[in-house]
């Protein structure tokens, strides 16, 4: 947890390692995370889950019930959704 803003953070996730490897600017990492959130929301549209990117902690998952969950990276998104009882889509099927 950041001692200044109190936000949760677990450091770079796998997908961000790709962005970090070429030492891109932070705004560009956030741009990449936002684009990932858009793609996640598209995949999860049937479940009515909306995802947004946040620079400090990764992703914010807004569930159809109104609940909100944070996820530190892409892999964590799927785990958190499954733990919340949301059916995780299968890219081989959809």
């Amino acid at each position: 947890m950041c001692s200044l803003c109190g936000s949760l953070g677990e450091g770079p996730a796998w997908e961000n390692d790709g962005a970090l490897a070429d030492r891109t600017a932070r705004w560009r990492q956030h741009q990449s995370a936002s684009a990932t959130a858009v793609e996640l929301s598209r995949l999860l549209s049937a479940s009515r889950v909306r995802i947004s990117a946040h620079a400090d902690f990764g992703y914010l998952l807004q569930l159809p019930t109104g609940g909100m969950i944070t996820a530190s990276g892409l892999a964590d998104v799927w785990h958190k959704l499954a733990a919340a009882g949301i059916s995780v889509p299968d890219v081989l099927e959809v």
């Binding site: 677990e10 997908e15 790709g18 684009a35 793609e39 995949l43 799927w78 890219v91």
Partner: protein, 339 residues
């Protein structure tokens, strides 16, 4: 902050893991190396066989590292990491128990943030007893997991079997894990392999899976799918698709390897995964990759590779496959069966 490489030495019970680690330590690989040994039983013996040539030998007892004593492993690695440069720790070698699945250990080391900033993955070595009968490779889930997770397979006890039998086993191993390197039980060759894996993740590239021609007399049900000219629409689209694919089907996708062009960063990126474990993506320093290597290769078992390729085309491919010419699509997709 520079990170410490860690290597896993795995292999089934009695396949020669401790002998291999011992040989590496006495052959000059021991300086700056901390060895962590996991023994399943309550009374550990393996550490007594590893000579004092290693910087330090630590033992994790009372359970298998992949399921019961992972927290002990994390605590031990944090202690080693905290010693920092004063302890001159240059690498960590983890010898798993004979019944451990290496993947949960790798995932722990990558998913724990406090470890991720201190350590980076080196290589996974798997020892295989040359006397193993063909069915023995697939006899238990643990042995299958160990062979499929390995970056290099070390054939041990070859002096106890005829040369042709050892060669047959090598062919079977290549069929079970087409992405691996098969090394002789020679400590200098193994040490060189480990050192190369420490210094650069680029040693895993370029991929040559797409070019390999493999045949084996024993059907392993291991198949591959190759997506050629696999330029994704964007990195976020590819990363989202791959993470979902591995989350849902990771148990059956033994390997993922890719060289992709990321147009948003105007760079080539290498991706390497073992089941659900993904190594950090690597930025590759070339204007264009060697001919035929810009592709994605999936090694799968028990899943139709064509479904993966079709899904890639549907979700990720830059070209809209519905508008593409049939001939162009045919060059995107090829499939090979390792049997």
């Amino acid at each position: 902050m520079s990170t410490i490489p860690f290597h896993l030495v795995t292999g089934f019970l009695g396949s020669g893991k401790t002998t291999l680690v011992n040989a590496l330590m006495t052959a000059g690989f021991g300086a700056g190396t901390v060895v962590i040994v996991n023994e399943f039983g309550e009374i550990g013996l393996d550490q007594d066989f590893i000579q004092a040539a290693a910087e330090e030998v630590l033992v994790l007892k009372n359970g298998c590292m992949c399921c019961l004593v992972r927290e002990d492993l994390v605590a031990t690695l944090l202690k080693i990491g905290a010693m920092g440069s004063s302890a001159r720790v240059e690498r960590v070698v983890i010898e798993t128990s004979g019944i451990a699945d290496p993947l949960p250990i790798l995932q722990t080391l990558r998913s724990d943030f406090s470890l991720r900033v201190r350590y980076h993955p080196g290589a996974v070595l798997c020892t295989v007893d040359a006397r193993t009968p063909p069915f023995g490779l697939y006899a238990t889930p643990e042995s299958r997991a160990q062979v499929s997770a390995a970056d290099a397979l070390v054939l041990t006890k070859t002096d106890l079997v005829p040369a042709d039998k050892a060669e047959d086993l090598q062919i079977l191993l290549m069929a079970a894990n087409p992405d691996c390197t098969i090394l002789p039980a020679d400590s200098s060759a193994i040490a060189a392999f480990l050192l190369a894996s420490e210094t650069s993740a680029r040693s895993r590239f370029p991929i040559d899976l797409a070019r390999r021609s493999i045949s084996a007399s024993h059907s392993s049900d291991v198949r591959s799918a190759i997506v050629r000219d696999a330029e994704p629409r964007s990195w976020p689209v590819f990363a989202t698709w791959l993470s979902n694919l591995l989350y849902v089907h990771g148990d059956r996708i033994l390997r993922t390897k890719a060289i992709l062009f990321d147009r948003s960063r105007d760079a080539w990126i290498g991706v390497h995964g073992v089941r659900r474990f993904l190594h950090p993506p690597v930025h590759l320093d070339f204007d264009s990759p060697p001919e035929g290597t810009d592709c994605i290769v999936f090694i799968v078992q028990g899943i139709d590779p064509a479904r993966i390729v079709e899904s890639y085309r549907r979700h990720v491919a830059h070209q809209n496959p519905r508008n593409a010419e049939p001939a162009a699509l045919a060059t995107m997709v090829s499939e090979r069966t390792f049997q």
